[in-house]
Symmetry: C2
Subunit: 265 residues, 2 copies
DNA sequence: CGGATTATTGAGCGTGCTCAACCTGGGTGG
DNA sequence: CCACCCAGGTTGAGCACGCTCAATAATCCG
């Protein structure tokens, strides 16, 4: 089943998720549990893609979101080569996705925070093309494909949401291509930080003060830079008064200045 | 309507396509015409995404593909900022898609040949995020969104095809990110040429002898390299006996050698 | 506390960019 | 028909951005 070389393996206790229509809870590991509260009462409703649906539609939506899963830091949500089984809505935590090519080179292709949808790469495909790894403890809602496609046929609003999520994914990777293909190192990092800030802001968090859940290696891999370059640029930006970093904690002091870097030269 | 800076504008005679449900042909420019022959008799059936559908499904599919359009070399199929109106199946010709960021930098994000589906970026979105420009005279089948989503709800096989096309798009841009983020210039070009070869082969064309429809500028933009670097590398590959170029005509002489470059170092 | 992982900083090098000159083919107009 | 032009392409010289290699520091975790 797994044809690609990777040392990441799904822990055995997640096997149950591959057959998500088995709903009984007895004997299941605590990381996979029945979704009791319901979408209407969900505390993450404000950021959930289903948040804008009409009450009747939410009820139907909830029918397919009957599983929640916790993924601990360092564990995978899914692994490249895994059969497509579900879409995931992240509502707590932080993940990265990585791709490994035939030569064994790994690259980070995206970072995901609360409100983002994962697993879109294999709607309509046979297996996941990338691996999703938790960078912080995560809670996700699990929506089995076998239930999503039928429901999307019944509920136009859901169909449209689904397509919108896929569009977002495509637009996002277009931006990533711009960064990698036509920006200098400093512009890539500035663009990355501004993007993180914007996404935090849209989720009601501070757009200035952030906790970076990923390592410099991850940032470098995502931006097509070495870890040394990332580190040096963060130091440079700090010396220029644009931001303030230590370790994983970062404060953006001059958003305008960072935006200026993108236009510079 | 168009918020982004670009000098590419849709010619006026294409306006009719923005209201595709108007079916009468009288007075329409010859570039947009009713689809008479039908999918069952279409000469491009072998490469069309609808090719594998059951006869009854093809009939329904044909209901929404009642327009064909010709796009001349140098003209746009759609422009970033255009309202989403349709999906397009290309069955003759060659296109590139480009994105322009807020600073005005343009980058090529993809090349499309017969059998490819365009316009996926805005299924579920409000407007196109990229511009598609014909690099050779093109024939496309036009499938209005307003008809696709309802039909996809009625025909599971079509829904799945649609999702598969979107997955392909995502997987494709993951490969592009790998190229841009973790390959040297020579590896990017080799990977690009091998990709073109593989796609030609899958369409029944020669995988060794190809006519490059794009300029060196386009290749450079797509690969994140300058035109000089592309040119120099093509000359180098030729000196090494890996291929034979002049102008837009290229023959790959040593596929294995090109693949070796990807692994090298 | 010790080892491993992550991060910072420096010195030197090399890939790929910049700038510039020149060549080629295709289209246009006198 | 040739002269001309211009976009597209090739090639060279020199430089700089970002990588490699290396040493050191800080932090996490068993």
């Amino acid at each position: 089943m797994m044809t690609w070389v990777t040392e990441i393996r799904r822990p055995d206790r997640y096997d149950g998720e591959m057959r998500p229509r088995i709903a009984e809870d007895k004997g299941r590991a605590p990381s996979v549990r029945k979704f009791e509260a319901g979408c209407a009462a969900c505390e993450a409703r404000r950021i959930c893609p289903a948040g804008g649906l009409a009450p009747a539609e939410v009820a139907k939506f909830q029918d397919i979101v009957y599983l929640r899963r916790t993924v601990k830091r360092g564990e995978p949500l899914f692994v490249a080569g895994d059969a497509c089984s579900a879409l995931y809505v992240l509502w707590r935590g932080f993940l990265k996705t990585t791709v490994v090519d035939s030569e064994g080179h790994e690259q980070v292709t995206g970072f995901y925070m609360a409100g983002d949808v994962l697993g879109i790469d294999c709607v309509g495909g046979a297996s996941h093309s990338d691996t999703a790894l938790a960078l912080a403890d995560c809670d996700v809602c699990v929506m089995p494909y076998s239930l999503i496609e039928p429901l999307a046929r019944a509920v136009p609003a859901l169909q449209h949401r689904l397509h919108a999520a896929m569009s977002d994914e495509i637009v996002h990777s277009q931006r990533a291509m711009m960064r990698l293909g036509s920006m200098r190192a400093d512009q890539r990092l500035a663009s990355f930080l501004l993007g993180l800030s914007r996404r935090s802001l849209r989720r009601g968090l501070s757009g200035h003060e952030m906790q970076l859940p990923m390592t410099r290696i991850d940032i470098g891999s995502y931006l097509g830079l070495t870890i040394e370059t990332v580190s040096r640029l963060l130091s440079l930006f700090q010396r220029q008064g644009l931001l303030d970093v230590n370790h994983r904690h970062i404060r953006l002091l001059d958003i305008g200045g960072l935006e200026g870097i993108l236009q510079k030269k």
